[in-house]
């Protein structure tokens, strides 16, 4: 089946703006808030949000880090594939800060569980929140819900939600793909 486009570039842009305003409402000047993009697909999305906050709303100092969760995943040795790590770069302290974890798609919640574990290696945050572009509700395997959400998507288990970005030489859009 042909992939079905759920969001085009315009719709995606509207959502990104809305999310950035929601963040400003709650986090004001971001003095005590840091953004953490979850590897491998969170960083581009997190970067976009940060750019919006800087360009449109003149927030100057917004700490953005990237967190790799590979070594904290719970499916190591449970699939044929070796889990491959990405880069972690958090060059600021998260101690006492509000951490906003950012990922493109929230599905089973297992990546977020791993991220909650992984982030503790960097200190004790005051609070951790979750922001995702897509929430595939009804697919959760753990009690994890987003604090900020782009859109909710109802999908079957054999379907896949794919977010593509300009940064990867594809147009900004979201697809629903049916696996055979």
């Amino acid at each position: 089946m042909k992939p079905k486009k759920i969001l085009n570039a315009n719709e995606l842009s509207t959502i990104l703006h809305r999310l950035s305003y929601q963040l400003i409402e709650d986090h004001n000047d971001f003095y005590n808030t840091v953004l953490i993009g979850i590897q491998p697909r969170g960083p581009i999305f997190a970067n976009r949000l940060r750019q919006l906050l800087i360009n449109d709303d003149k927030k100057n100092i917004i700490n953005l880090g990237f967190l790799d969760i590979t070594f904290f995943r719970d499916d190591f040795r449970r699939s044929e594939k070796t889990l491959k790590a990405s880069t972690t770069s958090i060059d600021f302290s998260i101690e006492g800060k509000t951490v906003i974890l950012i990922d493109d798609v929230l599905f089973t919640g297992r990546s977020i569980r791993a991220a909650l574990d992984a982030i503790q290696s960097y200190g004790r945050p005051k609070a951790v929140q979750l922001l995702t572009l897509i929430d595939r509700r009804f697919s959760r395997e753990l009690p994890i819900q987003p604090d900020y959400c782009g859109i909710q998507v109802d999908s079957r288990l054999n379907e896949k939600v794919k977010v593509t970005w300009n940064e990867n030489d594809e147009e900004d859009s979201v697809y629903l793909i049916k696996n055979k």
Partner: protein
């Protein structure tokens, strides 16, 4: 290139270039992990590893144990002194007894060359060679190459000199295989009596003039004389060895360029290398030790992902 081509790490001989690159890439990530405030990740929390050291070791043993702890593995360590080996138990029996206690991975150091290969053929477990006699010491060679490329970048086309007791050194052989697979040119240097016959057939150059050899290389690995493996006289005296093959500040200053100095440890200060040189900025000896933990974490992580 997301998994290793082998199920054991018995020697560099059995690895290909992709394996080396994968190990180095994975080590980058673990190096970041061990520089965190909290240095532990839970990847291997359901893996049990036995460290079997039938020969003395400080660095390698501590490095492996730390790497295992950082990966959250359960570990048991064994050294041959005080064990039932002295009661006449064979290697296969010893290992099988340990394996029957549900151990997933075995790290072995043994004085006999080929001990790890022998074990991999006779027991059902993942084997990592931590040094087998005069044969190979793969994790040392991996961390050497990793540390060197951190300093000077891609090793392709670089010239690397190995000096000292090439005949009895397992580091030398693993070094040669590793550097060659990475595209570097290897020269060995030392007393003729300590250079194996026909070593040229491995594609390495032999140079007996120490200063000349140093002038032609980008990095030098200074090996220790393996006195514990030497029963006869290979050179007249330690004093004469130092005069001909000891690296000191004067020689280093007389060279045309700055070279990187490596040493796998333990150092015999004042023999193969003077304190001044070992502690100089050109030496990366302690970087090698730090990287050893990351390399061993990477090797165990990648091999453990093949355990079911």
């Amino acid at each position: 290139m997301s998994s290793l081509s082998v199920n054991h790490l018995l020697g560099i001989k059995y690895l290909n270039l992709n394996d080396l690159k994968l190990i180095f890439k994975t080590s980058d990530h673990f190096k970041e992990v061990i520089n965190r405030k909290i240095k532990k990740v839970p990847s291997l929390r359901d893996v049990t590893i036995a460290n079997l050291f039938f020969e003395n070791s400080t660095r390698t043993k501590i490095s492996f144990e730390l790497a295992q702890k950082r990966l959250s593995a359960d570990i048991v360590s064994f050294s041959s002194s005080g064990s039932s080996v002295s009661k006449g138990e064979t290697l296969i029996d010893t290992v099988n007894n340990i394996l029957s206690m549900k151990v997933d991975m075995v790290i072995i150091r043994h004085p006999s060359p080929g001990a790890s290969v022998f074990l991999s053929k006779n027991v059902e477990s993942c084997i990592i060679n931590a040094g087998d006699g005069t044969h190979e010491h793969p994790t040392q060679a991996l961390l050497d190459a990793y540390s060197l490329s951190e300093k000077i970048g891609d090793l392709n086309g670089r010239k690397i000199l190995i000096v000292g007791d090439i005949l009895h050194s397992r580091v030398a052989l693993s070094n040669i295989f590793t550097y060659q697979k990475l595209g570097a040119k290897v020269t060995v240097c030392g007393p003729k009596s300590l250079i194996p016959k026909h070593i040229e057939s491995l594609g390495v150059a032999v140079e007996t003039n120490f200063v000349k050899a140093l002038n032609q290389c980008d990095a030098v690995n200074m090996l220790r004389i393996q006195n514990e493996r030497i029963s006869e006289n290979y050179f007249p005296s330690t004093r004469e060895y130092v005069q001909q093959f000891g690296l000191n500040k004067d020689i280093l200053d007389s060279l045309d360029k700055e070279i990187i100095i490596m040493h796998p440890g333990p150092i015999n200060r004042g023999v193969e290398i003077t304190s001044e040189v070992a502690d100089s900025d050109q030496a990366i000896i302690l970087d090698q030790v730090e990287n050893g933990v990351a390399i061993r974490m990477a090797v165990m992580y990648l091999l453990a992902s093949k355990l079911y």
